[in-house]
Amino acid sequence: MNLLRIPTPLRPYTKGQKQIPVEGRTVEEALQSLAREFPAIEPHLFDETGALRSYVNVFLNDEDVRTLQGPATPIGEEDRIMILPSIAGGCP
């Protein structure tokens, strides 16, 4: 089990919990574990094609997994996982 840190705007979907124990050998499996336990969070993590939404960043021990092996990045027992959104927007 690893602890997955949840950012403020997604905590309403985890009953206010900041950290959730998740199962899985990869980042993708850990996120799926989170979505299984809290299904309402899923549309805010994944788009209609099942890909991670563009604002969703997952950090493994302070490293963006996009710079590692992406969702397939393996996780070890001591690894810390965080979901950290990019905040963005703009004019029409």
Partner: protein, 149 residues
Amino acid sequence: MTLVIPAHLLEAIQAQGEGAYPEEGAGFILGSTHGHTRTASAILPQANLFEVSERRRRYRISPQDMLRAEREADAMGLEIIGIFHSHPDHPAEPSAYDLEYSLPWFFYLITSVREGHAGESRVWLMLEDRSGFTEIALRTQTATQSKEA
């Protein structure tokens, strides 16, 4: 739902939008939630990290800055309740791009800045099905009202 914001904080948000003009300005709104009302108590203006050529119509705050802001809010006994940003020479209404990047639950306060002068500020919350936004009531509070509360 309502966002209550002290007048001096709204003025600071609008001043940040004017200072960033013709680019977009943005930052975090910190505060607390009581039922359907969120009350702002501090703001954390942020650097716009979007590519320079696009900053007139785009803003981006890094995930690392988001983490720092969450920790700062924790230390103050507050939480991030929303995001503010400016729309240079455009209305204070969310765009399709705002929707694409919108997070649930956050209040999005948008200020229209026309020719360098801040106009109206409006607050929006993304609908749960991500199909659009609903407008949130914005109530400014003077220093006297804050003391009475």
